[in-house]
C-alpha cells in the first residue's frame, strides 16, 4: 500500500557534518517498512517541485526514521524542519532486500548509502558471521557506525583520505574478506554510489557470492508511472539483450547479476 500523508516530525538532528536524521511519528510506515524500501518527501522550497527520495533508515514502533545528506537545495531545505512541523511523505515505495538464509551476510555501504543498510542489519539480526563494511571519502562520511555496533555487528571501515580505518575504498575490505573466507554461501548486500556498487558486484561475482544492490536514479513519480528512473537490466529475449526497468518500481534493490553497468 502506498499512501500520501502528512506526518509530524519528532526530531530532525545533525548526526555528522552534512548528515541529518529525520524521525516522524508514522505508525503505518514503521509497521510495514521493509529494509531497502524508500519514501519520498515533499520539500517546501521555492521553485522546487519534485519529491526527494530517501531510504528507510530505521523503524521502531510508531517512529519512522531516515538519514539524509545535504547535497543541494532540497536537502538543505529539509534541515530547516523542526519538531512539531508536518512533512508530506509518499510511501512505502519499491521493493526491499530479500533476506535469505546464508552462511555469511556481508553488508557493504558507501557514504549516504550506509543508512538504508541499517534496518537490513537489524532484520538479519547480526548473527556471528555478519560483517559490515563502511566506506566514505572521509571520516565524516562514516555515518551510523555506532548504530551497527550497537546491534552487535562486526564493523570494518575504510576512508579514501585515510582519516579513519583502512585508507582506500570499502571494496578493498570486501575483497580481502572474500579472499580469506570464500564466497560460497555468502550474500552481499550493498548500497552506495554507482561506481562502488559496480565494483562490489564484480567482486561478489568473482568469488561466487550472491549479491543484492540498492540503486539510485533520478526520480519524478517514485511509483512507476513516469518511466524516468530506469536502468539497464539483462533480458536475453529483448532487443539488444536488455530492457530498461524502473528503479522505483522493480527496484531499488536488484540482484547484481541482472544489471548491465555502463
Amino acid at each position: 500500500m502506498i499512501t500520501q500523508k502528512l506526518y509530524t516530525i519528532l526530531r530532525n538532528e545533525k548526526i555528522a557534518p552534512l548528515y541529518y536524521c529525520l524521525a516522524v511519528k508514522a505508525p503505518q510506515l514503521a509497521k510495514k517498512a521493509l529494509s531497502g524500501q524508500f519514501v519520498s518527501l515533499l520539500v517546501n522550497e521555492k521553485n522546487l517541485l519534485l519529491r526527494r527520495p530517501f531510504g528507510v533508515f530505521d523503524c521502531d514502533k510508531d517512529v519512522f526514521r531516515l538519514v539524509y545528506k545535504v547535497v543541494g537545495r532540497g536537502t538543505a531545505a529539509l534541515t530547516k524542519l523542526a519538531k512539531g512541523d508536518d512533512v508530506d511523505i509518499l510511501g512505502l515505495l519499491g521493493n526491499g532486500f530479500a533476506v535469505k538464509r546464508a552462511r555469511r551476510h556481508l553488508i557493504v555501504g558507501g557514504g549516504v548509502g550506509i543508512s538504508p543498510l541499517f534496518y537490513l542489519a537489524k532484520k538479519i539480526g547480526a548473527p556471528p558471521d555478519t560483517r559490515v563494511f563502511l566506506g566514505g571519502r572521509s571520516k565524516g562520511d562514516l555515518i551510523c557506525e555506532k548504530d551497527f555496533k550497537a546491534l552487535g555487528c562486526v564493523v570494518a571501515v575504510a576512508t579514501e583520505d585515510g582519516t579513519k580505518g583502512k585508507k582506500g575504498l570499502v571494496t578493498g575490505l570486501l575483497d580481502a574478506d572474500l579472499r580469506k573466507h570464500g564466497g560460497d554461501g555468502v550474500v552481499v548486500y550493498a548500497c552506495g554510489p554507482k561506481g562502488m556498487l559496480k565494483a562490489v558486484a564484480g567482486i561478489a561475482a568473482e568469488y561466487g557470492a550472491a549479491c543484492q544492490v540498492s540503486l539510485e536514479e533520478y526520480m519524478a513519480c517514485g511509483i512507476g508511472t513516469c518511466m524516468g528512473c530506469v536502468i539497464k537490466i539483462r533480458n536475453e529475449k529483448a532487443e539488444a539483450g536488455f530492457e530498461y526497468r524502473r528503479v522505483c518500481k522493480e527496484g531499488p534493490v536488484f540482484s547484481a547479476e541482472e544489471i548491465i553497468w555502463d
Binding site: 517541485l49 533520478y218 517514485g222 528512473c229
Partner: protein, 306 residues
C-alpha cells in the same frame, strides 16, 4: 442559486463527469495511482502513449528538475499495443471512468492502424494523437510541427475510426492557430493543448547536459503561461473543444486554463509531487463556481474579459 454547480463537460461526442483529466505519460495506465487515490473520481484518464511495437525508450538520465518544472526524454517507453492488450487492458476495462487512449506512430499509417486496433478493443472513449513524437520517415522531425504531415496523420486516423479524435498539438511551433486549423480541417473532434516545450539544461560541474538525450520536454508550472496563451489563441479563433494542459497543479491553475478557453483540463507533472492534485482540483473548481455563483463549469470558457 444551485449549491452544486454542473461539472459535466463534453469533448465532441464524449461526456466527462467532471473536467479534470490526467495527462498521458504521467499516469501510466492508471494502476499505480489507483493505490493512492480514488481514481474513479477523475473526469477520465489519458493513458501513456502506445505504439505498434514495444519501445525501449531512451538511455538514462531521462529526467531532471528545472525551476518550477522538469525536463523529460523518456523516448516513449511502452509495452506496445500487444503488451497493452495483455497487461493493461483488463484493469482499464473495469474502470468506470472514461479512458482516452493516447497513440503514437512512426508513420501516418501506423497511427491509422493503431486507431483501428484500439477501437476494436472497446475500451477507449476517445483517442488522443501524440504528434509531438519524431517522424521516422522525415528524419525524426516531430510530426506535429509539419502541417502537411499533421494533416496526413489526423485525416488517416479520422478515416480509420469512429471514436472521437483528440489531436494533441506540439507547442514547438511559431503559429499554433495554423496547426490547430490543420488538425480541425483534417477531421479532429477536439484538441489537446499543450504537449511539452523543447528544452535543455546543463550540469555545470560535469560540463554535460543533464539528460542523456541532450534535449527534453519541459513540463510543469513553468510552461503554464505558454499553455494559457496557446489555448486562448486557438479558442478565440475556432469553436472546438480543447483539453487544456501544461502546469495545472491546483484549482486556480485549472480555472485559468478553463477561462482561457479549455473545456476540460488535464493534470500532468503535478501528479508526481501531489498525487491528490486532480481530486483537489475537482473540489476546488466546484468551490470556485459556487463562490462566483456560476451554475455550469461550461460557462467558464466564455467568461474571459479582454
Amino acid at each position: 442559486m444551485a449549491q452544486t454547480p454542473n461539472l459535466k463537460v463534453t469533448i465532441g461526442t464524449l461526456t466527462l463527469p467532471n473536467p479534470v483529466l490526467v495527462c498521458s505519460g504521467t499516469y501510466g495506465f492508471g494502476e499505480e495511482f489507483a493505490d493512492i487515490i480514488d481514481i474513479t473520481k477523475l473526469g477520465g484518464i489519458i493513458t501513456k502513449s502506445i505504439t505498434l511495437r514495444p519501445k525501449k525508450g531512451n538511455p538514462p538520465q531521462r529526467i531532471v528538475e528545472t525551476p518550477s518544472g522538469m525536463l523529460n526524454a523518456i523516448g516513449l517507453q511502452n509495452p506496445g499495443i500487444d503488451g497493452f492488450i495483455k497487461d493493461k487492458l483488463p484493469f482499464l476495462k473495469k474502470l468506470k471512468i472514461p479512458v482516452i487512449v493516447n497513440i503514437a506512430g512512426d508513420t501516418p499509417d501506423e497511427y491509422a492502424e493503431l486507431a483501428r486496433r484500439v477501437e476494436s478493443l472497446g475500451v477507449a472513449a476517445a483517442l488522443e494523437l501524440n504528434i509531438s513524437c519524431p517522424n521516422v520517415k522525415k528524419g525524426g522531425i516531430a510530426f506535429g510541427i509539419d502541417p502537411h504531415v499533421t494533416f496526413e496523420v489526423v485525416s488517416g486516423v479520422r478515416k480509420a475510426t469512429r471514436l472521437p479524435v483528440v489531436t494533441k498539438l506540439s507547442p514547438n511551433v511559431t503559429d499554433i492557430v495554423f496547426l490547430a486549423k490543420v488538425a480541425i480541417d483534417a477531421g479532429s473532434d477536439a484538441l489537446s493543448l499543450i504537449n511539452t516545450l523543447l528544452g535543455m539544461s546543463i550540469d555545470i560541474q560535469k560540463m554535460r547536459p543533464h539528460i542523456a538525450n541532450i534535449t527534453g520536454g519541459l513540463s510543469g508550472p513553468a510552461i503554464r503561461p505558454v499553455a494559457v496563451r496557446m489555448i486562448w489563441q486557438v479558442a478565440r479563433t475556432y469553436d472546438i473543444p480543447i483539453i487544456g494542459m501544461g502546469g495545472v497543479e491546483d484549482a486556480a491553475s485549472a480555472v485559468e486554463l478553463l477561462l482561457a478557453g479549455a473545456s476540460a483540463v488535464s493534470v500532468g507533472t503535478a501528479n508526481f509531487y501531489n498525487p491528490r492534485a486532480p481530486l483537489e482540483i475537482v473540489d476546488g473548481i466546484r468551490k470556485y463556481l459556487v463562490e462566483k455563483r456560476i451554475e455550469d463549469v461550461n460557462e467558464l470558457r466564455k467568461s474571459l474579459k479582454v
